[in-house]
């Protein structure tokens, strides 16, 4: 099933994530941060279902709580004193709220990062770098080939060593280091030796010829252009509207009362943040994919 936000052009996806990260980073308005957090959570849930539920329950919520409590305990600015702690410091509402808002900001970024990992595949990263340097794109691709290979080889080596009784009776730190270094040395000579085959295979297929191109499978459609433009506009507006929408928490909580412009802005940000989800849901409905 190759539809939805994940299968857009890498530039469109990337532009959206740049916007969502920057928004989380610089926005101070609690409403915007909450919207970003919620839409990030909902989209992550759409992408990874159970995994996201566990991620939110086991990590994200405790993190928000922890940041809130810590900020309350260790920051003492603000005018609304809730109570005085044993060491004589004030426990203030402002510090507590600021902690909560910071927690939501960080949580929002982490959730969007989770979506990023799912959406921006290695293929897309290679494509994006390939635009700047085809050679770099090839190197990334080769490294990605190499990592699982090395991992498989190291487990083969440790089984082989165990199978002839090497290193099974070692004890102590020095012994372990010695047996690990032996394994590493096997791995290195093995990899270097077989690497000759890789270079033969590359040369045999014409690597080094003048004028190498970089193949990609992506077509930049009108839809991609539209989404790139919307995300870019939202990014620009994030900077422009920062002053207008900004809230402060020290010494008092000061959230600007919304006027017509700021309501429109917030609605715009919210709809851009919900755009990936909408695209996915719309396309699924359109092609009647039920899961």
């Amino acid at each position: 099933m190759k539809i939805g936000f994940k299968y857009l052009h890498p530039f469109a996806d990337l532009m959206f994530f740049i916007f969502s990260f920057i928004l989380c980073l610089i926005a101070t308005n609690p409403l915007i941060l909450i919207i970003s957090f919620v839409s990030g959570a909902v989209y992550d849930f759409k992408l990874q279902k159970k995994k996201t539920t566990a991620y939110i329950l086991k990590f994200i919520l405790p993190l928000i709580l922890l940041i809130t409590v810590f900020n309350g305990l260790f920051s003492h600015y603000g005018v609304t004193v809730l109570f005085v702690m044993q060491n004589g410091n004030n426990f203030t509402l402002e510090a507590l709220v600021y902690g909560l808002i910071s927690g939501i900001r960080i949580a929002g970024m982490l959730l969007w990062l989770d979506c990023f990992n799912e959406i921006i595949t290695s293929e897309k990263i290679i494509f994006i770098f390939g635009r700047f340097s085809p050679r770099l794109a090839l190197i990334i691709s080769m490294v990605l080939r190499f990592i699982p290979l090395i991992r498989a080889q190291s487990s083969e080596i440790s089984n082989a060593e165990k199978g002839i009784g090497n290193g099974v009776e070692v004890s102590g730190f020095i012994g372990k280091i010695r047996s690990a270094s032996r394994r590493l040395s096997i791995l290195v000579s093995w990899t270097l030796e077989k690497g000759i085959d890789t270079s033969d295979s590359m040369r045999a297929r014409g690597y080094g010829l003048h004028g190498r191109t970089s193949y990609n499978d992506y077509v930049f459609s009108v839809k991609d252009a539209l989404i790139t433009v919307i995300s870019f506009a939202a990014l620009v507006l994030t900077f422009v509207s920062d002053r207008k929408l900004s809230a402060s928490y020290n010494p008092i909580i000061d959230i600007p009362t919304p006027d017509a412009v700021s309501v429109i802005l917030i609605i715009f940000f919210a709809s851009v943040l919900l755009m990936p989800l909408m695209i996915d849901l719309w396309e699924e409905k359109r092609w009647s994919i039920t899961k």
Binding site: E123, L144, N159, I164, G165, E169, S185, T198, G206
Partner: protein
Amino acid sequence: MVNYKIKNLSFFYPDSNTPALNDINLEIEQGEFIVVCGKSGSGKSTLLRMLKPELTPKGKSKGEIIFFEKNKNDFSQRDSARNIGFLLQNTEYQAVTHSVRSELAFGLENLGLDSKTIRLRIAEISAYFSLEDLLDKKISELSGGQKQFVCLASIVAMNPKAIILDEPTSQLDPVSASAFLDTVRKLRSENGITIIISEHRLENVIPLADRIIIMEDGKIISDCKPENISKDVFYKNEFVKKSMPLPMRVHSHLGLDGRMPLSIAQGHKMLEHLMADKLKYTIPSKEVRELSEDNAIQMKNVRYAYENSGYVLKGINLTVKKGSFTALMGANGAGKTTALSLMSGILECKSGKIKIFEKSIKKYKPAELYNGMLAVLPQKCESLFAGNTVREDLESVLKNSDLSKEEREKRIESISEFTEIKSFLDRHPYDISGGEMQRAALAMVLLKQPKIIFLDEPTKGMDNLFKIKFAEKIKELCEGGVTVVMVSHDTEFCAEYCDECAMIFDGLCVLKENKYDFFAQNFFYTTAANKISRDIFPTAVTQGQVLELCKKNLQN
């Protein structure tokens, strides 16, 4: 079009006075299917590499090669990349990039094609090779056979006129190997691509060949259609005698005249004709070794599942007698290697019982288990060598033992003698040949004097001459009371040398018999000898048995 014209070509590696190639004369036409064979070190790899300018080894060469009607100097790197594909035997390291799609694109990018053209080529190639399902996979997720397919496809995508394959199936199991060769055959017959292939498993490839080139000591000793190999070559050359497909061997052993049979079907026909009205004896003699009553290994109701997958072993029961040479056979994914890893304690037995010499494997301490009780010869011997010399690696095995220095040296000495590795003890492990490396690995395994040895597909990539030598060593060990358990796909080897064979299927052991009864009961998973003689001598499974019965019947 003539692909290659080679005149009086000789080649010397640096610092060597003996020629690796000696006065080679050869002409290869477009669309020919050529098999190059010869024992390891005969120069076949060097010859193949001379046919691909980018891979020509460093050294001194005399004589002349004309590539596609061009002189070597006029034949540019671009010409070579476009016209000649070269497939290596190493399935792991040939793939350059991380995904199937980018691997298919790699060569085309090098040629400087634009994305649109590359997309079209990939579409064509994946339809031709049925790769659609693999296209979005990572290379690391593929099986060995699939990897080799993708590498072949990525070469074919460049639309070459000739493809050179250097032992392409030596790392594959028989099923993938024959599927692979089938595709190679198709490339020749449907697309007219010249195929030049070297192999040591010749059974499947010889019936496809237009020409077979046999090499020895850097010389071409025979270059003709496979059925025309002269009697002279067949009788004099040890390699040819032992390595040609079984129907050809039977034909020449019986000293028959007439057309030489290449395939199983032709071999079957030959025997039918031969025995038409002379058939009297049909029961071959069997050499069944008397096995001890004691059990070396018992598996009772063992189940095993890997992470994120169902049961691989589903309550397997298996007994291995002390001092026997037992083979575990079966298809890929049937659980053979898992069973072997459990018996050898590499994997932990979580459900069921495994006993080693009547004592549960869990009650052995690791140090006890791997010091003189069990040892495993890994499939990839490279995973054992770290030292600068073979001797260093041998010494490292005994480093932590209680033996005195003299005793250690004595043991290394005697085991080196036994495995015949003394001549290269002081060389670097990567400077010796694959077969020699395997023997050195066997020496490392034997140093702790294990009572049970596990082998994981040891004959993969061995030529027939070396297999015989290897089998003799194993036999000697078994006669000395060592138990050997082997996972193998090699029916001929098992029928010839094992005591017992077990068929693993779907996580269970479905058949375990002495080798003769085992293969006589199978119809498809059996030896070539059994296949060609099944209707005539139902219980003959080895070449020796078929020859014995033929001779006995012919004498009457």
